[in-house]
């Protein structure tokens, strides 16, 4: 099921009027564990404000003074449940939340590391280089020809390669290790460095995929004479290692690339999409 269609459970820890507060350590441990399991939490304290209710399933936890039965009768709906956690350990609190998640058919969290490009539209010039470059269909264009990230799920975890081809350093991966790709402010020296990487890539054969293709073709020609499959594999691995170092691309991503013919086909398709988007901008 696509990420956007999944149902989530909102957990509310109620510690305001008519409820006893949890002790500090238990509150922290319970919240830490629930966040670690992917739940979104609202803590209702004695001060400040919380976000308004919405229509997602919610579980309200509290040490209710008047007993949960009264509150439940007045406020429980199909989507909102109350649980009195008086006497619960933090483990039992987490267990109660998990039980409700299953009953509400809400999604189990943590199955996917959220790794995908985020475009900084203050910097993006809509040049479509990212769309031309990505072989996995992550990018697309809207009806007005503006670049968009359309298929986040297709992105290859830990691969920041498209951000390397962006001449404006406009593509972020917030979970990347270093700036400006992680969202840190873009400095002039960053721009120069990013441009240099693109230039190096161009010098090596237009882009890394065409470089891969060319080397593969050269190797195929040579090995067709030598008929040595081991040498072919070694050559491919050498090429992949070099590419991985150049673009900080995880070797597993490069190793999972399709055949050179398929790469060429996808590259042509991506380029056509980019050209169509650029043409739409000009209309």
């Amino acid at each position: 099921m696509p990420l956007r269609d999944q149902t989530y459970l909102r957990v509310v820890l109620y510690e305001a009027a008519d409820a006893e507060p949890l002790d500090g350590e238990q509150r922290f441990q319970a919240m830490s564990r629930l966040l670690g399991q992917g739940f979104a939490l609202t803590r209702v304290g004695v001060a400040g404000r919380t976000a308004p209710a919405d229509d997602v399933p919610a579980l309200v936890l509290g040490r209710f003074r008047n007993g949960v039965e009264k509150i439940t009768a007045e406020a429980t709906t199909d989507r909102v449940r109350f649980t009195n956690i008086s006497g619960f350990t933090d483990e039992q609190i987490v267990g109660a939340v998990e039980t409700t998640r299953v009953e509400q058919k809400a999604v189990q969290h943590g199955g996917w590391k959220p790794w995908f490009p985020v475009i900084d539209y203050d910097r993006c010039t809509n040049c479509m280089q990212c769309l031309s470059f990505c072989l996995f269909g992550v990018y697309g264009a809207d009806s007005a020809g503006s670049i968009q990230v359309q298929n986040q799920d297709n992105c290859k975890t830990n691969c920041p390669a498209c951000s390397r081809v962006c001449p404006e350093a406009a593509i972020m991966f917030p979970k990347y290790k270093a700036g400006p790709i992680n969202g840190a402010e873009v400095k002039e020296e960053d721009l120069q460095r990013e441009k240099m990487k693109v230039d190096i890539s161009a010098l090596l054969g237009g882009d890394i995929y065409s470089m891969l293709r060319m080397r593969s073709e050269r190797a195929q020609s040579r090995f067709s004479k030598e008929r040595d499959a081991d040498k072919a594999l070694n050559e491919r691995q050498k090429c992949l290692t070099k590419l991985a170092a150049m673009g900080d691309i995880p070797p597993e991503v490069l190793m999972s690339l399709p055949s050179p013919e398929e790469i060429q086909k996808r590259a042509i398709e991506a380029k056509a999409k980019a050209e169509a988007a650029l043409a739409a901008q000009r209309v």
Partner: protein, 140 residues
């Protein structure tokens, strides 16, 4: 440059659960002090994950006059929300970067009554290239 909104700013804490990019000690210290403060607040497992699935809750989480967000870089946070169709108001949002700051300055700013907007100014949303939010109000 700071402003004192009429309503207290909402507080949103991102646990960045699915990556090891924020010092766990910083995250834990911020969460613990928020828990101990008696303040109401919102906490989410991972803003990136919510943005990827365009979670409608992102709009709810930032509803109201103003919000302070403990997460990562302001530039990343701005466009994570915008790309999910829940653009932040530049004039009313303060992002505390737990990748760069120690826990105490983050907590101090989260619990302070005033708000220091620090999102990058510029476009409001990807789809409105000419739309911009007003610049933050002058210092009070």
């Amino acid at each position: 440059m700071s402003s004192s909104p009429e309503q207290p700013p909402g507080i949103l804490f991102c646990n960045c659960t699915y990556a090891q990019i924020i010092d766990p000690a910083v995250k834990a210290a911020v969460l613990r002090q928020l828990c101990d403060s008696g303040q109401s607040f919102e906490a989410v497992a991972d803003l990136c994950e919510m943005s990827a699935r365009k979670d409608p809750a992102l709009k709810r989480l930032t509803a109201g006059d103003s919000v302070k967000i403990a997460a990562c870089y302001p530039r990343a946070v701005k466009w994570l929300f915008a790309s999910a169709g829940a653009p932040l108001n530049v004039a009313c949002t303060e992002v505390l970067n737990m990748r760069e700051l120690a826990a105490q300055p983050v907590v101090d700013r989260l619990l302070a009554a005033d708000l220091v907007p620090n999102l990058p100014p510029g476009k409001a949303t990807p789809a409105s290239p000419n739309a911009t939010f007003p610049t933050p109000p002058a210092s009070s």
